[in-house]
Symmetry: C2
Subunit: 137 residues, 2 copies
Amino acid sequence: MKARVKWIDGRQFVGINERNAGVVMDSLVEAGGEGVGFKPTELLLIALAGCTAVDVVTILRKKKQKVTGFSVEVEGMQRQEFPQSFEDMKIIYKVKGENIDKAAIERAIQLSEEKYCSVRATLEGNPRITHTYEIED
Amino acid sequence: MKARVKWIDGRQFVGINERNAGVVMDSLVEAGGEGVGFKPTELLLIALAGCTAVDVVTILRKKKQKVTGFSVEVEGMQRQEFPQSFEDMKIIYKVKGENIDKAAIERAIQLSEEKYCSVRATLEGNPRITHTYEIED
């Protein structure tokens, strides 16, 4: 799998995949950028959240759960000192639907954590990753 | 730092940061998605490339290098088995400019690797990350 990042100017870049989708990255204004688009560290959080999200929603639907809405929030805590690696990441799964089974959610999250989520597996042993979930009828 | 991911449908999601920038994620058609936007694993590669790219271009400019173009290519090799974590990542820095000093590039890459790149530091000890660079006049 390949991707590339092209400099626009200042601290602003565009990230491009092999199918020519693009995403703009920048630093915040207070860090010398223009604050357009995503910080690279935000894309890391979104990569993790998106990876586990697709696993969990797919497994829930295979388990015949009537999912009508689904989102994942992710919070990352970084070191103060350089390098400012993430020490903790917290994932909140929010599932909306009819009579959603808690055991199905827990099993789906476990399968994502242990087997399917490539991004999470690539982070293994580094940030402490915890999760909770909420069900909304 | 927070971010969230909202389910659109199928295997398609939108990732959103705290300043409401959005990026679409999806699986490839052959994996049951519609292939719109980015795979989460591609965003991981782009997060790494973008993180080191901003470090390197900023350091080169501080070192008074006349950089007129800059891009970073990144290639990731994943395990065949689940979880399909990245085992190797290869970064190619491409610097365009007038009389660019090789030592300045090497020092800039080293500082990014060892001190500044938060994404790389969060991956520490997992994929083997290697790099090369090319200079274009």
